[in-house]
């Protein structure tokens, strides 16, 4: 069983991006979450915030048009949308801790059914890479996680309890994997949508903890 079944990376990002509501302030983490900004979500106006103090960035800059002193949290040279503002790092995390981020989208190694998640340190490592993840996880109004449903050797990433050091506890709102869309419910995960080509049994087998299935389960649009 490999992580390439079901939705592609962009399709997972698309699914999460379709949750964004008009006027939201959103922080996109490095990796798959970055792809959310590619999704067409109609006329909805989203303000993208980056940890380094950019409020209101747009797409990646065209080659030759980069401002080398303008990067998002992933170090990509981005553009600015009209109405953008720049603040320093302490003020930028003031935006985060102050509760102004409507949604943060992050990658993770594991998510638990109680809404814990782990994304900064592997077992056996002395240190890790925290960056802004703990601040965002603790303070954003909604924490959306995108991850491959299973590990390279087929083990579950949606688990009863994280065995990796957690980034924050009880904060995850929604989880998009290549297998579908999930909500941590405390006593288990609820499957809200299933990826085309997968069966509920397949998803259940690949998921740690209990899996409840939403009434009227729909297939995730793979657009």
């Amino acid at each position: 069983m490999s992580g390439t079944r079901g939705l592609t990376r962009q399709q997972m990002a698309d699914r999460v991006a379709r949750e964004f509501q008009d006027g939201w302030i959103v922080n996109l983490g490095v990796g798959i979450p970055t792809l959310c900004s590619n999704t067409d979500i109609g006329g909805r106006d989203i303000t993208y915030h980056s940890e380094n103090g950019i409020i209101g960035y747009g797409g990646v800059a065209a080659e030759g048009e980069e401002d080398l002193n303008l990067v998002n949290a992933g170090g990509q040279n981005v553009t600015l949308k009209p109405g953008a503002a720049v603040v320093h790092h302490a003020d930028s995390f003031g935006v985060i801790r102050g509760g102004r981020i409507d949604a943060t989208v992050m990658g993770a190694y594991q998510v638990s059914m109680t809404g814990d998640f782990a994304n900064w340190k592997l077992n056996g490592q002395r240190g890790g890479g925290i960056g802004g993840a703990m601040d965002l996880a603790a303070c954003a109004k909604r924490v959306f996680i995108i991850l491959e449903h299973v590990t390279r050797d087929g083990g579950p990433r949606l688990v009863t309890a994280c065995d990796l050091p957690v980034t924050a506890r009880g904060v995850v709102t929604l989880v998009a994997t290549n297998y579908g869309l999930f909500e941590p419910m405390g006593s288990g995960f609820r499957l809200l949508e299933i990826a085309p080509g997968l069966t509920v049994d397949e998803v259940r087998t690949a998921t740690g903890g209990t899996l409840a299935v939403a009434s009227g389960l729909r297939e995730t649009e793979a657009g």
């Binding site: 490095v30 990796g31 980056s50 940890e51 380094n52 103090g53 950019i54 030759g64 980069e66 401002d67 080398l68 002193n69 303008l70 990067v71 170090g75 600015l80 720049v86 603040v87 320093h88 790092h89 302490a90 930028s92 995390f93 985060i96 801790r97 814990d116 340190k121 592997l122 490592q125 002395r126 240190g127 890790g128 890479g129 925290i130 960056g131 802004g132 993840a133 703990m134 601040d135 603790a138 303070c139 050091p165 957690v166 980034t167 924050a168 506890r169 009880g170």
Partner: protein, 246 residues
């Protein structure tokens, strides 16, 4: 204020006199705001037993630029305080990671927002504050927490610096600074946290008052030494002029 200038002629002069045992903060988030030229001068300067404070130790990009991980490799570092001892993606490898993982150097891993706020607190005379970040994680183990209005918070202390090394786009002779876009990042908070702030500047330094008072990002009272970055290849990392040529 008009009568003096903080402008020095060389990076070597700017880092002269930094003693062993100093704590030094470095601006920068990815490339923007990283004081590559001051780091290079510090690599030659020789001070030892340093405590380094930065978002990351750098060195992920190729070709490798002067970074503070090199000070670690030179055996001149007692401790690093940062938000990453390893890269976000396990597949990226920071040169620093092996030194830390093998126990060759101490590090204190701090969430990025807490790092910024601890520096801001040091600058603003706030000795300690509470934050929701890292509650319930390994970083909070054995640490003091406090419940306020029903939520748990972690106590964090101000992080003072002896020196801050930063990079800005514009400066005037009094030391007022302006940053360009995401070059700003840690620069302003590092400057307030430090006893002595040394800034490398993209553009020629203006006369005192050359920046409108409403447009100053970092007041000159926080800035002590300025050096203009010369054109490449002598000066490291492109100035605005080059960016447009790329």
């Amino acid at each position: 204020m008009a009568g003096r200038t903080k402008l020095l002629g060389s990076f070597a002069e700017a880092v002269a006199g930094i003693p062993d045992g100093s704590s030094i903060g470095f601006g920068g988030f990815a490339m923007p705001g990283t004081p590559f030229n001051l780091i290079k001068a510090l690599l030659d300067q020789g001070a030892r037993r340093l405590t380094l404070v930065a978002n990351t130790t750098g060195g992920a990009q190729q070709p490798r630029m002067p970074d503070i991980g090199m000070l670690v490799e030179q055996g001149r570092v007692a401790k690093v305080i940062c938000a990453f001892t390893a890269a976000t993606r396990p597949t990226d490898v920071l040169p620093f990671t092996q030194y830390y993982e093998s126990g060759d150097v101490e590090a204190e891993l701090v969430p990025q927002g807490t790092l910024a706020e601890r520096l801001r607190a040091a600058g603003a005379g706030i000795p300690a504050f509470y934050t929701p970040t890292a509650v319930g994680t390994e970083l909070a183990e054995g640490r003091e927490t406090r419940v306020i209005d029903g939520r748990a918070y972690l106590l964090e202390y101000a992080l003072k610096l002896d020196y801050a090394f930063i990079r800005a786009r514009f400066a005037d002779a009094f030391g007022n600074l302006r940053f360009h876009r995401s070059q700003r990042n840690f620069g302003p908070v590092m400057a307030t946290a430090a006893r002595v702030t040394i800034a490398e500047i993209d553009e020629p330094v203006l006369r005192a008052g050359g920046i409108d008072p409403d447009d100053v990002h970092t007041p000159g009272i926080y800035v002590h030494r300025l050096v203009q970055v010369p054109p490449p290849p002598e000066g490291l990392w492109p100035s605005r002029r080059q960016e447009k040529r790329r």
